[in-house]
Amino acid sequence: MSIYQKNEVKEVETSRTLSLVVDNQPGTLARVIGLFSGRGYNIESLTVTEIDKIRSLSRISLVTRGTSMTIEQIKSQLLRIVPVHIVRDLTLEGPFIKSELALVKLVVKGANRVEALRIAETFRARTLDVTLSSFVFELTGKPSKLDAFTDLMRSLGDTEISRTGVSAISRGNKTETKLLDQI
């Protein structure tokens, strides 16, 4: 933030989830990330994968944080990137679903093994791998649920955690098909 703005009233920063459709090209992701680092914006989570093979399009789900002025800037700046086709602000648009996948390895022996399985069951986590001294659980859902689960697992033993970052989509029957057809 510029020093010129020091005396401005502090506006609250909120978390926003953006959903982008971009060309699946080398360099696109680098441009998006470079924008955030170059202009000092926050990235809390970012996921990207191809969603349309024929048109070679990828979706980037992105969670960021900032004042409403900053968020508007981020959206306009993203739209300036040539291979970025669609920028949607899911937080602003209405109800939406945010989901994430976590793989949690827990090294555990003795009584805590039963406890771990009980917690996993409560969270509806799947057990993907078992040895006499470890488990690998898979859990999907809201980031906050994943946080709670990983915290509990940590208290039971040595853990290794891999999370995908948030993937998001709006609720209801609205789709982007029309917008995509213009590309």
């Binding site: 010129y4 703005q5 005396n7 401005e8 306009s76 739209l79 300036r80 990137i81 590309i183």
Partner: protein
């Protein structure tokens, strides 16, 4: 048809021709030899051999900004590409349409640290509007066509195409420009809305203290935008001020023109900005050099912002109405609406506002005293203007005090006649830029207003000037100092002149002569006029070493961290010491 098959390099040249390229500024090397071979065979594109790749980009910028066309650059891989980076950043900051072709090692060697390999797309990503690495020869033509569209539409900017040598040598089928390609994006948004235009027009007509502040976006939009802007100013009979990049889009002779605004703008322009009740910003971006301290910027005004780039709106200053669109389009509907409403109502009298402004004008903030025999730099520019205004004169500048004096004392009556590095402030911009301008306008008077330190940064281009017989006039305001640095050290750092003296200067007259061009020198005010006449009348290039008052400062000035109404008019103005926060500002 067999004709449609050609080498990648030939396809590149063909695609350039198809996109209207007549001149390309470049420098050869191993990775672009096939392209140079194709250039050798062609007779449609003229290649200008610069002496440094940075200069190639600046020359293309000068060409682009003085013509409105896309400037084209060709450099080799590795050092050729890295040398071009400053130029590309300059073009990005000042929204200049450039297509830069760079050579690259063959695709199978990419990533092996091959000789003269650099990650050119990686390095240039943040300093281009877009860039490509061509890995698939079949995409080559499409990429070139798209690059020209990207560079020149919306907010213009530089595009780089990295061309591996094997792609240049491969056989491909040429693809025409008007082939239907996948759209690169649909983001050239525009939100021109009748309702908003009506509200804005009403606001402007009912304002008691309106001001129009316009910038480079008007120049970029084309000459029509400048005409429309002048029309709007005349219709509203309101004051207008221009940014450094916007100079010329309202004629300097227009009675409503208050001069440039900002850090070295006129007192009346900055005070009118500070005190206005309605501000219309056309194609400018509230740059920190213009606004001064933001929380004291035009505090009691409604603000309207017209810009082709949505991200410029509400970036640093929140406005009441943001109109996204090309200046020509928006201005033409706005002018119509103002005309229509103007016929229905009597316009608010602005005589009180004008008398206030005239009162500020009486300060004569650009006044200076030319006493004694020493040449005041301000006088040098003033005389240069007087003696060149009847020619079709194009001015380029370097960066420093001389640049600000040129902006203050030279009058611009038309857009596209003033080329300066505004956003990046690149010393060494002016000389290569003048090469591009003179190539585009062979019969016009092209003058690089230079400082002795800046001149040294790209003076190798003298050789280019001689090779192509370009009659560029290099007007050096020689104060033996990095004057602008010295001025800040005087004002902010207790006159501790750390490393800002330009020691060991060459004899500029002899330097000129060593290149076979004319060198002139003047150090007495009595001979200034004659020297300028002589410079203008000489057919070929000239270096004029204008020895000016060495410790002159550039005023008026808004000290860093200060507001428009806190500007100082001279060194004697006892301005408060620059605040700690101000000291941290550039």
């Amino acid at each position: 048809m067999t004709v449609n098959y050609c080498s990648g390099a030939e396809a590149v040249i063909r695609a350039l021709v198809e996109n209207g390229v007549e001149v390309i500024f470049g420098y050869p090397g191993g990775a672009v030899l096939p392209l140079y071979d194709a250039l050798f065979e062609n007779n449609k594109i003229k290649h200008i051999l610069v002496r440094h790749e940075q200069a190639a980009v600046h020359a293309a910028e000068g060409y682009a900004r003085s013509t409105g066309k896309v400037g084209c650059v060709l450099v080799t891989s590795g050092p050729g590409a890295t040398n071009a980076i400053t130029g590309l950043t300059d073009a990005l900051m000042d929204s200049v349409p450039i297509v830069c072709l760079s050579g690259q090692v063959p695709t199978h060697l990419i990533g092996t640290d091959a000789f003269q390999e650099a990650d050119t797309t990686g390095i240039s990503r943040p300093c281009t509007k877009h860039n490509y690495l061509v890995k698939d020869a079949d995409k080559l033509c499409e990429i070139i066509h798209k690059s020209f569209e990207i560079a020149s539409t919306g907010r213009p900017g530089p595009v780089l195409i990295d061309l591996p040598k094997d792609i240049q040598l491969s056989k491909i089928k040429y693809v025409n420009k008007n082939t239907k390609f996948k759209k690169y994006n649909n983001n050239n948004i525009s939100n021109i809305d009748e309702n908003v235009i009506n509200k804005v027009a009403t606001l402007l007509l009912n304002a008691e203290r309106p001001i129009i502040y316009a910038g480079g976006g008007v120049v970029n939009s084309g000459q029509e935008a400048s005409k429309l802007l002048t029309k709007l100013v005349n219709l509203l009979d309101c004051p207008v001020t221009l940014t450094l990049m916007g100079l010329g889009c309202v004629p300097n002779t227009n009675k409503n023109f208050l001069g440039m605004l900002g850090m070295h703008g006129t007192y009346e322009a900055n005070l009118a900005m500070h005190n206005c009740d309605v501000m219309l910003n056309v194609g400018a971006r509230f740059d920190d050099r213009v606004t001064g301290r933001l929380n004291a910027f035009a505090p009691n005004s409604k603000k309207i912002h017209i810009d082709v780039d949505k991200s410029s709106i509400n970036k640093v200053v929140s406005v009441d109405y943001g109109i996204v669109g090309d200046c020509t389009k928006v201005l033409s509907v706005l002018v119509q609406e103002v005309k229509k409403l103007h016929n229905q109502q009597t316009i608010k009298s602005k005589s009180k506002w004008w008398s206030e402004i005239n009162h500020w004008k009486e300060k004569n903030s650009l006044g200076f005293q030319q006493i004694g025999n020493n040449i005041k730099p301000q006088q040098a520019i003033k005389s240069l203007y007087e003696k060149s205004k009847n020619f079709d004169t194009y001015i380029t500048t370097e960066v420093g005090q001389h640049q600000m004096w040129a902006a203050q004392y030279f009058g611009f009556s038309k857009p596209n006649h003033w080329m300066t590095s505004g956003g990046l402030g690149t010393m060494g911009y002016g000389l290569p830029s003048s090469v591009g301008v003179q190539i585009a306008h062979p019969n016009s008077l092209v003058i690089d207003i230079s400082g002795e330190a800046s001149f040294l940064m790209n003076m190798q281009e003298l050789s280019t000037i001689v090779q192509y017989k370009l009659p560029v006039k290099i007007f050096i305001l020689n104060n033996e100092w990095m004057g602008m640095v010295r001025q800040w050290q005087e004002l902010n750092h207790g006159s501790r002149y750390s490393e800002s003296y330009t020691a060991s200067l060459p004899d500029f007259v002899k330097l000129a002569e060593s290149f076979g061009i004319t060198g002139l020198r003047v150090d007495n005010i009595k001979n200034l006029g004659n020297t300028i006449d002589e410079m203008i009348n000489i057919k070929g290039p000239v270096i004029a070493d204008i020895r000016v008052e060495k410790e002159e400062n550039c005023f008026p000035m808004i000290p860093s961290g200060a507001a428009h109404n806190e500007m100082i008019l001279s060194s004697d103005d006892n301005h408060k010491d620059t605040s700690g926060e101000g000291l941290a500002l550039v």
